[in-house]
Amino acid sequence: MEFLTSFFSGPVPVEAYLAVSLIMFFAGVYGFLTRKSMLMILVSIELMLNAADINFVAFNRYLYPGQFEGFYFTLFTIAIAACETAVAIAIIINIYRNLTSVEVGNLDQMKE
């Protein structure tokens, strides 16, 4: 009981944010290694990018609250993630048009 009250009374430590982003990142790694559909691999990449963003913002807020480097890095990362997703989905739609499938196992047919 005392553990619970001390858990909820103090401010949230920075490790809690790091733990959340850690779980999110390795969920992304698991999805990246196990899924066959290219869209699902893209979903996993988004999870990993978000985990990195949480780390930047948490470190900026806790260690350097007067400066905004992590804030701007996250802002630019979000923009780059949007670019990357748009181009990747264009490529996936093009592959679907040629092969009628988006599985990574079929991609070696592209070279024929």
């Binding site: 920075v14 850690l22 196990t34 699902m40 913002v57 806790y62 804030f71 701007y72 993630a81």
Partner: protein, 167 residues
């Protein structure tokens, strides 16, 4: 007190939905779970006091990228078809790899990060400051990355149209 409760609720939401997003059998459900993860991340930004980042995360990720994902899924997926995964042995290997990485990084964080839980007052950021920092060329001002992002977005629009158009 309220801040702690909100944080732990958001942490549980992010954890559960990120694991569901990579293990769900149907691809459209997986995209929906990803949307909840992105919204939870936006909540963490708001909790840390970065309101502008919260708005950007909602608008770009939950608005733009999720619409792209759902359109791509509906364009490329036959309805009612389950998503294929790798063989079971490779899934076990992947699970062990990510658990090992989780344990390693968790060990490093637990033993090396000091218990920093002091939230000092943040310098309040106004939209004027935000714009000056984005358009200035001094130290801690970001004109060059801003312009690079604009060129990258232009190249990305042209490239996406070139790649995805019908021949």
């Amino acid at each position: 007190m309220a801040q702690q409760i909100i944080f732990y609720v958001l942490a549980v939401i992010i954890t559960v939905f990120s694991i569901l997003a990579v293990t769900s059998k149907q691809i459209i459900r997986s995209a929906t779970y990803l949307l909840f993860v992105l919204l939870g991340t936006a909540g963490l930004y708001l909790l840390l006091g970065y309101n502008y980042l919260f708005a950007v995360q909602i608008a770009v990720y939950a608005g733009g990228i999720m619409v792209l994902f759902i359109f791509a899924i509906l364009l490329t997926n036959k309805p009612g078809e389950n998503v294929k995964t790798e063989l079971p042995i490779r899934r076990i290997v992947a699970g062990l790899t990510s658990l090992a990485g989780l344990a390693f990084c968790g060990h490093i964080i637990y033993w090396n990060v000091k218990k920093i839980s002091v939230l000092t007052e943040m310098a309040d950021i106004t939209p004027q400051q935000l714009g000056r920092m984005m358009m200035g060329t001094d130290k801690y001002q970001y004109l060059l990355p801003f312009e690079m992002i604009s060129i990258l977005l232009l190249a990305c629009i042209v490239g996406a149209i070139m790649v995805a158009r019908k021949r």
